[in-house]
Symmetry: C2
Subunit: 139 residues, 2 copies
């Protein structure tokens, strides 16, 4: 896998696992849907039922400014395993940020599920400055 | 979902995403295979090719003593989404720790892939003291 292929697999992935760090230094982890626009990844708080609106992931991004997202596909044939991970500075975008509407449009293009119920936000942006990938077998 | 069901789904999952925190406070994330023995989760460094043997996940667990593991299943029908997350104290087990052999045996029972090539370790243990789960639709 080279960086172009890593980028292709990241963009094609339907789900990612989004990691942040709590203000007390422990890891936090949640599956998210996301989209990539140039070198920035966006994920939105959406209408999927939540136990609370004060989401830990938002507090963590605001407190630490860092996030990481991993995509991978598990199969029982371990010779075909791979993953791609991106890391970088993250922020919770203000609702009037110009980037929010573009992010929501891009999310809605990728996920038809959002057409009838667009995400209301907040939107988290992750500036992907560090890329790492792995695959079990080289081509 | 109740705790029994969360526990059942965790045990049944074939892959988990394992989050730790680096000594400098940034999140780190990798897919792992794992097994559960009572209230402890085990994952091993195995023969899948690595770019380095000095794995970041080991350094992070040794530095911070914390880890988190998430299992989920993504489907395009968002009304069936769910996840289960466990958090707690983690450690890298010494190779002569009594728990290592039991962990490797349990991993090999769960994953036939390990029969021909058992993991050599190190083994990370995660004492699952905090459980959290979510599902889109209640039954």
């Amino acid at each position: 896998m080279d960086k172009d292929e890593a980028r292709r697999r990241l963009r094609a992935a339907r789900v990612g696992r989004f990691a942040t760090v709590t203000p007390t230094g422990t890891p936090h982890l949640v599956p998210v849907v996301f989209t990539v626009v140039e070198d920035t990844l966006y994920t939105a708080v959406d209408g999927k039922p939540k136990t609370t609106t004060a989401l830990q992931r938002l507090a963590n991004v605001e407190a630490t400014g860092h996030a990481s997202l991993l995509v991978d596909e598990y199969t029982e044939d371990w010779s075909t395993l791979w993953w791609v991970r991106v890391d970088g500075d993250a922020q919770v975008l203000a609702l009037d940020d110009d980037k929010v509407q573009g992010a929501i449009q891009a999310l809605t293009r990728k996920y038809p599920q959002y057409v009838s119920q667009p995400p209301t936000g907040p939107v988290i942006s992750l500036h992907m400055t560090r890329w790492k990938w792995w695959e079990a077998a080289s081509p």
